[in-house]
């Protein structure tokens, strides 16, 4: 039987209330904290989590953090502030550029890019991208895309040393933000929220001990389409609900689909839902306007990313039993 996008429809009010109950119980009973920290990126996920937490706990028990850096979009701070203003909770601006400079984040990243483009320097912009999943049966091998000061776009596959160093340097951003989130959590006796949606949580679109670290993850079970619907239901500002997902991490604009998922989020959601529910590729291909073979390729990619992601969800490996700790 063919399926369509309606399988992702939710009773939004009932689900919002269920999540709010879980947040109240989780923060008070399990975590024993007085409120939550939400890092606001100006994107749909963190905005939705902020709206849910403000509803669940009351705005006095939510503290927002705005943490842009020099590669963030110009509109990031305005968008994230619109969330704390809309839901009426206090927030703090922490510009993380000086910390990242102290860590030599940008310098280490640019050194790695120069392994591929030796002339890369001031005035150039960059991002890393995956091949289009549907174009070829290729591996998930990243390329770096640079824009010269004259506006010329160049692209080159990354050798392993350069790729790993770019990722390692860029991960300073998410880990620096998480360090500040725990600073504010400790000073307020609050818990830290994580804001992954289901696609991100399942497929590993987060940095271990960076944005992947959190005490509570209120929307990790929601597909991204459902997060958009929930955000609208809760009154998240229109400008955020209408914004395309971006990583806001690299100096060249970068969609999440070219960075990680290789399909836009709506068809990716439906593929993941269908795979999770044992739906054959042919039964979902029509709604996606793809061939069954292309859907099979997406299914395989989901499995491959799950395998790669396993390490990111694992607790530390112990080499002997510690029975007292569970």
């Amino acid at each position: 039987m063919a399926i369509g996008y309606d399988v992702l429809d939710l009773d939004l009010e009932a689900e919002a209330e269920r999540i709010c109950q879980a947040i109240r119980r989780g923060v008070s009973h399990d975590l024993k904290r007085r409120g939550v920290i939400v890092a606001l990126s100006g994107g749909i996920d963190s905005s939705c989590v902020a709206a849910l937490c403000a509803r669940a706990l009351g705005p006095k028990h939510v503290h927002g953090l705005h943490m842009p850096e020099k590669d963030s979009s110009d509109d990031t701070l305005g968008l994230s502030r619109s969330v704390s203003d809309t839901f009426g909770f206090d927030s703090t601006v922490e510009i993380i550029t000086p910390i990242l400079e102290g860590l030599r984040c940008y310098e280490r990243r640019d050194d790695a890019i120069r392994m591929v483009f030796p002339e890369f320097g001031p005035g150039w912009k960059s991002k890393i991208v995956l091949p289009g999943l549907l174009d070829a049966g290729s591996y998930n091998v990243y390329s770096v895309v640079v824009q010269t000061p004259a506006g010329e776009i160049l692209k080159q596959r990354l050798p392993p040393k350069a790729y790993l160093q770019i990722v390692a340097a860029t991960n300073f951003k998410q880990r620096t933000r998480k360090m500040l989130e725990y600073y504010h959590a400790d000073r307020l006796h609050f818990a830290v929220t994580g804001t992954p949606n289901r696609l991100e949580y399942d497929q590993g679109f987060f940095v271990k001990n960076g944005d992947g670290a959190a005490d509570i993850k209120p929307i990790a079970h929601l597909y991204k389409s459902q997060v958009y619907a929930m955000a609208r239901h809760l009154g998240v500002p229109e400008a955020i609900c209408n914004r395309a997902p971006t990583t806001d991490t690299y100096s060249l604009a970068q969609g999440q689909d070219e960075f990680y998922f290789s399909l836009p989020y709506r068809p990716m959601d439906l593929c993941l839902w269908a795979k999770n529910h044992g739906v054959a590729a042919a039964e979902v291909a029509g709604a996606l306007e793809l061939t069954a073979e292309q859907v099979e390729r997406v299914y395989r990619d989901i499995d491959q990313k799950r395998a790669t992601t396993r390490y990111m969800h694992l607790a530390p490996v112990l080499c002997g039993e510690v029975d007292e700790i569970h």
């Binding site: 070829a136 290729s138 091998v141 596959r157 050798p159 392993p160 790729y163 491959q304 395998a307 790669t308």
Partner: protein, 87 residues
């Protein structure tokens, strides 16, 4: 001198054992074992493997050659290298 597929298989296996298995030869993959199906080598591992193939055999692997048919097993790699070198 033309490359012999079994020699390439031996060298590729040695590289895999040394770099991905910390020297545990008992866990070495059979020539036809799929890296994807067994999870032995992920996409970062493929990057490392390709860099090693390029430097060891003096070949350039194009983006459109990064496909399982060329790289998903020791036997596929050996056949690909021999074909690319014109052996």
């Amino acid at each position: 001198m033309a490359l012999i597929p079994t020699d390439v298989e031996r060298d590729v296996t040695a590289f895999i054992v040394e770099n991905f298995l910390f020297g545990s030869a008992a866990d070495a993959p059979a020539p036809a074992t799929s890296f994807m199906e067994t999870g032995l080598i992920d996409s970062t591992g493929i990057l490392e493997l390709v860099a090693w193939l390029e430097s060891t055999y003096g070949i350039a692997v194009a983006d459109d050659q990064l496909v399982p048919e060329n790289l998903d097993s020791v036997a596929n790699i050996a056949a690909f290298v021999v074909r690319t070198k014109g052996g």
